[in-house]
């Protein structure tokens, strides 16, 4: 049974494209046949994040308008032979395709792949509606910021109204130290507002910036904390029970040392 999963957020810049690239790659690493689709027509960048920008010949709009076959537009990944990218058109805009085109495209991809992961544009207009049209499931990305959570709330309402069921949530760019200090919303704070199931909590990780710029996704780097968290999300998508580490409790070496020192006097009083 193949699954079509759309990744969306409402607010821009919270990590939709990064998540799509990482989850698609992680699922391929697990041995699945995966297509990642860039539905952000006119602002394409999933190809850059995956380091495939120089290989684009045809794009999604070419397929929809019948200028090429689907197979001709699919670009094979650099690392995994069962991972393919369907790039967005850069010279067109969101009106170039409609929801029914995206449903037809999703159904065509479904016959060849285990997972079809669709990267949605930001916003709540036509581009977003196209991106969820063909989806079986929707993943919402947010960061622990009030504005991003507000937009996620709006998007969840629209996804539910579109009959896609209750989406699952990925909280991206969590800074445990800020959460511990009370300067950032915790995963619990976010979940209390959004009231949907959490499927992943991704720590803030500077290596994402360098890996994105190099076109090498973070899940390929075993030392990347965000990459490991994305791998966990991919395993949960595949149905594995992977415990959710509580990022807020993680403390730096200095904090732990300080905590031990602070505790000692109380112990000695007994």
């Amino acid at each position: 049974m193949s699954r079509v999963i759309t990744i969306t957020s409402g607010k821009g810049g919270v990590g939709k494209t990064t998540s799509t690239a990482n989850l698609g790659t992680a699922l391929a690493m697990q041995g699945a046949k995966v297509a990642v689709v860039d539905a952000d027509i006119g602002l394409r960048n999933l190809d850059v994040v995956m380091g495939l920008e120089n290989r684009i010949v045809y794009d999604l709009v070419d397929v929809v308008e019948g200028r090429c076959r689907l197979r001709q537009a699919l670009i094979k990944d650099k690392h995994f032979s069962d991972l393919f990218l369907l790039p967005a058109a850069q010279t067109r805009d969101k009106d170039a395709v409609g929801p029914e085109d995206m449903i037809a495209l999703a159904n065509q991809l479904r016959t060849e792949f285990d997972y079809v992961i669709i990267d949605s544009p930001a916003g709540i207009e036509g581009g977003f509606r196209n991106a969820i049209a063909g989806a079986d499931e929707v993943l919402i990305i947010t960061t622990p910021e009030v504005s991003a959570v507000r937009d996620a709330d709006r998007i969840i309402g629209l996804v539910e109204a579109a009959g896609k069921g209750s989406p699952q949530l990925i909280i991206n760019r969590i800074k445990p130290r800020m959460v511990n200090r009370g300067d950032m919303m915790s995963t619990d704070d976010v979940l209390q507002i959004l009231a949907i199931d959490l499927i992943g909590a991704i720590p803030d990780d500077e290596t994402i910036v360098t890996s994105t710029n190099r076109g090498e996704v973070a899940v390929l780097d075993r030392t990347s904390r965000a990459g490991r968290a994305f791998s966990d999300v991919a395993r949960r998508i595949a149905g594995e029970q992977v415990p959710m580490p509580t990022l807020e409790d993680e403390q730096g070496v200095f904090d732990k040392l300080f905590g031990m020192l602070a505790r000692r006097p109380r112990g000695s009083e007994r």
Binding site: I124, R150, D151, D153, R154, I156, G157, L158, E160, I193, L194, A195
Partner: protein
Amino acid sequence: MTTNLLAIKGSRDGLRLVLDAAAPWDSVVQGLEAQLERGAMFFHGARVTVELGERDIGDDELGQILSVLRRHRIEAAGLASRSRASRDTARSAGVTLRPTPRASTVDRDDRSDALLVRRTIRSGQVVRHHGNLTIVGDINAGSEVVASGSIIVWGRVRGVIHAGALGDPGCFIGALSLNPPRLGIGDVLSVARGDRARNHPEVAQVIDGAIVFGPWETTRLR
């Protein structure tokens, strides 16, 4: 909130305005105008179906109704009529036709049954009900909940909430935590109280023309 000329009905698929089928047309239009004026809080931004019963109307009459609705920022979701002439008028004007419910009569005066909504009301969503309303779930920031009766929320209120929105100050609002940016009961409005969130169950009601908040346990409802 019924005059002899007009009834408001709420159902799961939206609001219905039932116009008297026998009274002189001009007084029906005036009655509609007056009702929408009084219920501005309730109707603002709503979608309504207009029920005409047996009355025959032409292009002019239909135009009058549509312009009254437009002036009050109400969207005409459709027209229900038992008259073939009226249906033809609506069809040629491009207005959606809806079936007339069997039990729909003007003289039945009451709010429709209480409605129970079991979900989170999310940013951008509006819940509007003619009658009493119970919501099991949070009312998130950026959403709006409006009822012509009282509202009970088994959850947190962070969005705009308005009870008694057809002008009934005797309604109340109760919630597990009540932190709306704007709260209304009848024609009385209250804006957010201070910066500190209140996290205990509270009731809001109108006392001497002002909205008064009180703890759930000790407040006596009027």
